[in-house]
Symmetry: D3
Subunit: 207 residues, 6 copies
């Protein structure tokens, strides 16, 4: 990864609201080390995201890497060196599950994460992310990832609306399922969890 924030071995992967090459370019020019694209439905969708991450001839990214390029001072950020941007997508539509082999065959797609909430809605069992239909679709995708030799990703907290505090057993289960990428949480989920926990702890205080 090209940049590491504050001396840590981390990079920022930006989660987008749509598959838009122009928004992707802005994030990469700001120094993002990777992208996470929601709601892909086909190999064409993934190809579009991959192309947005690469300069020609492989891709369509236009040149203007302001911050990523250290405003002109980083002479190593040349397009010919093609900085290694991680390109990930979210598998959360019924079409993506159907097209999973073609999707994983796209050259330049590095990995993916499952999107259990939207997937449950797409499969007709809204927010029942533990439903056999969701589990079966997840297994279909994980099996395809094994065949394609690409690392699979799971959202750590599979229970959808119930954002439990971090539990080692659940994480271990994700890894056992084959996950090598974990979408561990989000700021909104963390705040919800903390507030919920606080409310429960204080429930008996008023007496």
């Amino acid at each position: 990864m090209p940049s590491t924030p504050q001396g840590t071995p981390c990079t920022a992967i930006v989660r987008f609201g749509r598959n838009d090459p122009d928004e992707i370019r802005l994030a990469l020019d700001m120094g993002a080390g990777g992208v996470l694209i929601p709601l892909v439905r086909s190999a064409d969708d993934v190809e579009r995201a991959v192309r947005a991450c690469r300069y020609p001839p492989r891709g369509s990214r236009s040149y203007g890497p302001s911050r990523a390029h250290h405003y002109g001072f980083d002479r190593d950020y040349y397009p010919q060196s093609q900085p290694s941007i991680a390109c990930l997508v979210i598998i959360e539509t019924a079409e993506a599950v159907e097209n999973i082999d073609a999707i994983l065959a796209v050259d330049g797609l590095d990995s993916f994460v499952m999107g259990p909430a939207d997937l449950s809605i797409a499969l007709g069992v809204p927010l029942d992310t533990q439903h056999p239909k969701v589990a079966q679709a997840t297994e279909t995708v994980l099996a395809a990832a094994r065949r394609a030799g690409k690392p699979a990703g799971l959202v750590y907290n599979p229970a959808g609306l119930v954002y439990n505090p971090a539990e080692p057993a659940l994480m271990q289960q994700c890894v056992a399922q084959g996950a090598r990428v974990l979408l561990a949480s989000g700021d909104e989920w963390m705040l919800h969890d903390a507030c919920q926990s606080m409310l429960q702890s204080s429930a008996g205080l008023r007496n």
Copy 2:
């Protein structure tokens, strides 16, 4: 309507600059009770807007209702309950007038408002919103709404550039024309009106 600001029987209907499902999703997740989409031309355009307001299978809205969902605390905001989002469009292109029956037949379109300024431009009589061509197109649309059994909407202030202060007679006339939705004004129009009125009142003061 799902949410009411500050204890009043009101909801926020967001007026967009374009027909973009991702922008619509953001507004709905923030708690908007409805959307108003400009410049539609066909039933396909309207179908796109309606789908952006609904979860699958009827629509394409993806799941993530942060504020609308009270950040996880509102257990009633489930996709299966399909919160009733009001979906309105603006009829302001020549194509929309031609396709009005197909547009009004789209399942999930709740209502519309006429857009007299753009419509006058589209009809070749720019900003002459009182021109017979505009009146005739408006009547065509209102008649179609009556046939379709859908409530019609009018911009209250039909004079285009002349943003008059609220006049009961004009409002009454809109209702008499069949309007059940009134786009009453906008912040920019209100400020213009007030400044204009102030300037006129003070015109004689310098002597």
Copy 3:
């Protein structure tokens, strides 16, 4: 006035929330042509505001006129030329009424406006801006202004919470009272007026 927005014979006078030389400097450096300072109580308060508007030796303004100075291209914006910044205050405390002669004697104070709402509260008749106590204090201040030869200012809309649409008669009355500066309205008042008017006009529509 040093700058005129958009080719009009106008300048921006910035209304501050407090009498803070640093905030005043920022506004002047951005090109404001004048300042309006609330809640002054004494000649010292006014002196502080005047000094914030002037470079040494008269004042305390520090140098850095970015936008006012056209970012270095306007060679005429030198401190020695002392651009003529209009310095106005709001008379809205009981102490200011008592100290009005000393306040108006401050060299560099150009004018003032009465602040009827806060003044009514200060005089124990909250928001009754028509109360004789408010009228008497206002007359005291206007008389002092006549003696000092400085132009007096009135808020055009004396009724406090009742923000009526612009009425020539009221304006005329302000001028007859001696006002040469009119604080005509504000964005919030204008929007309130317009919404109120809209609500009244539509009150009979539901039947």
Copy 4:
């Protein structure tokens, strides 16, 4: 409390970075139901905060309640009715502990919370919030609150840098100590806790 967000029996209490009447006014005009002022040292400091929350004659708040006043539509938000704003301070300086009786005697101060981190620094045992010096100062303040008949407040999470998840026992202990106001957590603390928990849960996954 004058306003309740989203139909819940809650109000927003704004925590300020300094004791500034102008900033307090802005928050109250936006509809805050109370204020929490840091770093007070004396009864004079508290008097300043209380006055910023009240209109004359008790206080110095100036009039202009835009959002709190529903932009002019709420006729009940009159200064004469003196909306009940909760005024709280943080006891976190050595001087405040010394002056606690005078501070609590200020008419209009509703309550306070202890600030253990700054207090530990002030007492020479930086961030050792469990140190007997901190415990003794806290007990001094709580005893004064009992004498004054004012509700005391504690930060729920007394361990300073160690932001543990919500634990009922700790809360119970705060209440047993006399706390009737609990500063339960903050967004930054919650996010730190959640990330820390996530990191601990995932520590064993790499093997």
Copy 5:
């Protein structure tokens, strides 16, 4: 050009990140005097940009010119008068070079500038903006512009990453090549140049 900032014979030409009619409309409604659209590939792309700049019937711009229209006070900004918006594109893709005659034939395209950095990448010689392939493509486009009778534009600083300070000789060379529009620099380039110059000047100071 319809508007001139601060009394100078200048207008703002907005450089967009994509060819989006809705973003173009927002800039024009804010008073931009022209647009500069990147990454066009075909006459269709240019037609889309031109249409976004014009009202019907020539274009697709919708009505709502808030600031450009002086919020209703400028009665001369009528759609029928079709304010003359400058429409420029950037020629920086291989496809645009191939389609240059068709592109320049689009009615309403006023001019263009070459985009040497992206063009060098597109031609397989990334950032070697002096490479014969880039020079040849540039000459192809300039020749087409002469045939079409449209003013050509060059980026003044052709060396790509090396943002040299302004040199009259280079500018003269651009004009000699036929440039009538010069994209002289950008804020980021200027800051880079100044910092680079500062670093070089101070390199010997530490001894």
Copy 6:
């Protein structure tokens, strides 16, 4: 210095508009490595700035180092370790020149830079930064710095309004004068220089 941006041996020193402990705290909590305070007049002013940079007992900084503290993950950012914040002031008032020995004697003041523009105004020779009065005051301050054993600072570009491009000779002269801290430029100055240079280079192009 406690933090280094992007792996470089640099830290951010924040230039404030006023000497405000609360603003200083916010910048330090965000990770600033130093502060630069304008318009000091006396040792008391400098003492106030120094105290804002230190925790008790030496200073008055309150605890809450969010980003500086890596949101709780950096256990080494304890108040007892007193992170070494660089505290600098600008000498640009006549009073500061008079009080320079007392100012430099303040324990915790690390260095200073001269402010030639404001100083020239204060000395009655506005913006004539080369005037003997300014040179003499500068030499007075530099001599005091030598006596006090504290590194002196100069603004590199002493010509005031004429922001020349970086010239090694001028920098060398600053160092020869005793400067060990150079305030090299600012974004506004750099942009002005680059635009000025561009305008001069293009002056002959229109013929």
